[in-house]
């Protein structure tokens, strides 16, 4: 009952005009960042990170939620119109949406992408509201050795999700863990790896790491080819006239062809993929799309413009948004890159994810749940009808204006959060490191997750051993720990050792959204 009233209060919080304005603003920013190839919702939330110091926590989280939902949906816009997915999670939508665009059915494809996103996103948010409080209570049962094994499980999944570049995934994760060890030790007042620099004794702040990894590195990558624009064929932009508002509405015959089961399966696949650490929207869309194709009565339509394929992929990647918040809020383990940055927002605002957050501070996160739901159910269709015919113009914006603006927001934002020139310089250093990592196909998301989870991993590991006089058998004798270690072994078997039979369901390497 307390949870229900807490959630209703979350919806009530959105009636505050300021909070509502931030939600709509966040949604529009997320739509822009999701639609422009190269920009992502993660980058948008990363740029917002320094500003959260000046915003009330609830408002910052509401804005993050609406950016996340919009970013996940809007990748489908450029995927459909110009065959360039704005976000990697819309790759499947490009396969089906663009052929429809070619034959003059672009509006229909955009309409189905939005409808699938709306259903999946809203249902994912509802599942989050239903499951998160129970998950928080379950989290209370996990003791210190179990918490270590759970984080280890998350890190192993993050590494093996890279599939073809597993060694690089491992290296990036460990690099993140290594960076996290710089500064005062987690249990004893001993400085580590400061190399005589006083500024390093306090440790590395997450802000420069996030800004450098996602904003500065993107600026450096985009600077490589200043003349290529976004790789858009000008002829494809002329198709903009073919997008009509009246064709956005899915017809009854279309919905019958797709089938309610496609939406249900897509939503559930997306939600539970989101719960898995590091899996993300691409994997959710890919698995759901593959399942829809496998069970379809018309698999021959796939690849040529199947509305069922669009519905399956889009309902899954938007449903993932809700799922990704569950492990982040209850255990402090982010389900995907965007929630990893949202975790940063929580920590910066002095909130510790875990069962306490979901009980005593539920009033802070409930508006975020409500924003996730409203963004999916109301703002997705609303923006499609309001701006749909003009979406294609997004890619006409010049890089020369876009990236200098992003650079200023990132660097000045980093400064206003800490008033430290050292932190600004650190953003540049991490940006350069991330640039080389990205060029060599190291997943930078693994670096971030390693950095975020490192201190807890070490703390729980050492505490567990201290409890048992240094005997590591505690990880096997503690039932919760044993459960997570067994789960790790099961995942390792199915994702690494066992050969896939028909379909390779791995997402593209370096998936960041």
């Amino acid at each position: 009952m307390e949870t229900v009233s807490g959630i209703l209060n979350g919806f009530a919080a959105l009636t505050d005009p300021t909070v509502f304005a931030y939600m709509v603003g966040g949604f529009l920013i997320g739509t822009f960042f999701g639609a422009v190839p190269g920009l992502t919702a993660v980058l948008a939330v990363a740029l917002l990170l320094p500003l959260t110091f000046s915003l009330p926590t609830e408002t910052a989280l509401v804005m993050c939620a609406s950016i996340f939902m919009a970013g996940m949906y809007s990748g489908s816009i450029t995927a459909t119109t110009i065959n360039i997915p704005g976000a990697p999670s819309s790759m499947m939508t490009a396969i089906e949406g663009n052929p429809m665009m070619q034959r003059g059915e672009g509006s229909k494809a955009l309409g189905h992408a939005a409808f699938g996103s709306m259903i999946g996103g809203a249902a994912g948010a509802l599942l989050l509201m239903l499951i998160a409080p129970f998950a928080a209570h379950a989290a209370l049962l996990v003791r210190t050795p179990g918490k270590f094994s759970l984080i280890l499980f998350a890190l192993v999944v993050i590494v093996i999700a890279q599939k073809k570049t597993m060694a690089k995934g491992l290296a990036a994760t460990v690099l993140g863990l290594m960076i996290a060890t710089i500064g005062i030790d987690v249990m004893e007042p001993v400085p580590r790896f400061s190399f005589g620099f006083e500024t390093l004794v306090a440790g590395i702040d997450m802000m420069p790491l996030i800004i450098g990894t996602f904003a500065i590195s993107e600026l450096l990558i985009q600077a490589e080819n200043v003349n290529t624009g976004f790789g858009v064929d000008p002829r494809s932009l002329s198709n903009a006239s073919a997008i009509r508002r009246r064709d956005f509405l899915p017809t009854r015959a279309d919905l019958k062809e797709i089938g309610i089961l496609t939406y249900v399966k897509g939503t559930l696949i997306g939600y539970f993929t989101g719960v898995l650490p590091g899996a993300g929207g691409s994997m959710a869309a890919f698995v759901s799309y593959a399942e829809a194709m496998r069970s379809s009565k018309h698999p021959e339509k796939y690849g040529k413009g199947s509305i069922q394929g669009i519905a399956a992929a889009e309902s899954a990647n938007n449903s993932m948004c809700g799922g990704a918040f569950v492990p982040m809020l209850t255990f402090g383990i982010p389900g995907d890159p965007t929630t990893a940055v949202v975790l940063g927002v929580l920590i910066i605002n002095g909130l510790q994810p875990g069962p306490q957050l979901m009980t005593t501070q539920f009033h802070l996160v409930a508006p975020m749940f409500a924003a996730l739901f409203i963004s999916a159910l109301v703002l997705i269709p609303l923006t499609l009808f309001a701006f749909g015919p003009y979406f294609i113009k997004i890619v006409s914006i010049r890089k020369a204006f876009l990236y200098p603006a992003i650079a200023v927001v990132a660097l000045v934002g980093g400064y206003v959060a800490t008033f430290s020139i050292f932190q600004m310089m650190l953003s540049l250093v991490f940006g350069i490191i991330a640039y080389f990592l990205r060029k060599e196909n190291f997943p930078t998301v693994s670096l971030l997750l390693g950095f975020l989870l490192g201190p807890s991993l070490e703390q729980y590991f050492r505490r567990s051993l201290s409890l048992n006089d240094g005997d590591p058998s505690i990880f096997l004798t503690s039932p919760d720990s044993l459960f997570f270690l067994a789960l790790t072994a099961v995942f390792f078997y199915f994702m690494v050792l066992r050969k896939p039979r028909k379909l390779d369901l791995s997402p593209p390497a370096g998936d960041e959204n």
Binding site: S54, K168, A400, R462
Partner: protein, 152 residues
Amino acid sequence: MNFSLASIFERVVLPIVTVIYFIEALRLNPWGSEERISVSFFPIVLSIVMFFAIACMYWQRKRGTSPDTPAALQISNPLKIAGLTALYILLFKPAGYVISTTFYIYGLFFVFQYAQERPYKGIVYAVVIMTIFYLFFGVGFNVRLPKLMGII
């Protein structure tokens, strides 16, 4: 300028960083210390795992089974941006937000090949972008941005 050392991070930087990290981890808790789980234990474990990852990458490269080919580095423009950004950060406090940001944006216009074609328009747009973010941070979020001699 095309840079041929496309795997410089994997082949050079990562092994060197790991060796330095490992040596420093050993120095944290000298051998013979009675404490079994000391401050150096976790970093030593991390170093060993990193050496394993580096060995795996080396083995994959050696056998030609590495699944990915690093993209060629076109380092010229990123290098210019990194230099410009470093200069901007160093001048941010002494020169103030208005001057340093305007010059930084104008410099970026050059790298993105906008200011060469339209130098005067470039100055105008640099001032416009600087002003937008001044209003955003300084007025919207009430942040005190650095000023040159407390004036601008």
